[in-house]
Symmetry: C2
Subunit: 208 residues, 2 copies
Amino acid sequence: MADKISQAVISRLPRYLRYLGDLKDEGVERISSHDLSIRMHVTASQIRQDFNHFGGFGQQGYGYNVGYLYDEIGKILGLDHKHSMVIIGAGNLGQALANYMNFEKRGFFVKGIFDRNEEVIGKKVRNLEIQDIANLESFITDNQIEIAVLTLPKAGATEISKILVRSGITAIWNFAHVDLDLPDNVIVENVHLSESLMKLSYKLNRKK
Amino acid sequence: MADKISQAVISRLPRYLRYLGDLKDEGVERISSHDLSIRMHVTASQIRQDFNHFGGFGQQGYGYNVGYLYDEIGKILGLDHKHSMVIIGAGNLGQALANYMNFEKRGFFVKGIFDRNEEVIGKKVRNLEIQDIANLESFITDNQIEIAVLTLPKAGATEISKILVRSGITAIWNFAHVDLDLPDNVIVENVHLSESLMKLSYKLNRKK
């Protein structure tokens, strides 16, 4: 059933998960699509359509079971598995991501952090010693790392992505300001922060 | 002319700007939509359609003038103006953004950085002393700050957003993992990093 799901629907799932998590924290056990729609500022029809892609998650008229829905969406998003990551680039952004505890709560574990700068190699970020990037390839293979997080400048990113492909990485979460040229079997998700800021700036400009 | 432009087109403009910047750096003065399409892995027809929203930027058969196109797209994105920002939350992510020089190159200047944690207030990030968040409202008014960058936990973000609205902020670049409830005249651009990671995880899960 989950085969024909559009990118737009997928993009909305993490937001549903966030709201359902809040409801769980508040002790709410059941919610109608109407009440959820008011909280989320989307239409109830949108919610029902989105959930129908996965079998509907509930019986008409009874509302959704919050805990069940939360778990099911989590499974669709692969959050019922543990994922191992390495961070490449131990600058401010790399350290920020390494220190972000919420990723662990979701099952994403940082197993290693790498840099090429000798001044930072050996220093600790949380409980991890920053390693020389020369060890990256063997580390990925030996530890069966799934996800590489790229938080390094544009120039280095292209070169490193070749090493990652060679070492059999499954996915790259790319913060470097460049589109990586990767084989089809490597999953990539880009976060281009400057581009987000420019969208904000566009809206500012239109407002004037 | 720029009145009916879809969000999808706007979202693509920063990427065009990035590729045109690279071409400029390589000394390329003119490029056809065909050659640009090969570089960018999009169709030439898509490029022509996108640019036609802004009057086309070139004469049929002569290709685009790289420098002119770069400047024009920059103007549409509001990059020909300087923008002043404050960062609220001096944790790792706040410091990463404060230290990111590329924002300044684009005209985005960090004028202040704020936190409520007494242990960090007074410390320096780059050339800025971290200020007590109690000073935020007057600082925004006195310095005519346009953009507030929210890099603080969910719980604090909602409260701070009310202070920001009261102080007349124009735009919020929100990294807090919450949808802010803002009046229509305040521009918001969200960056929910966890949601990006979940999209990656969804693709990983589908692959298995």
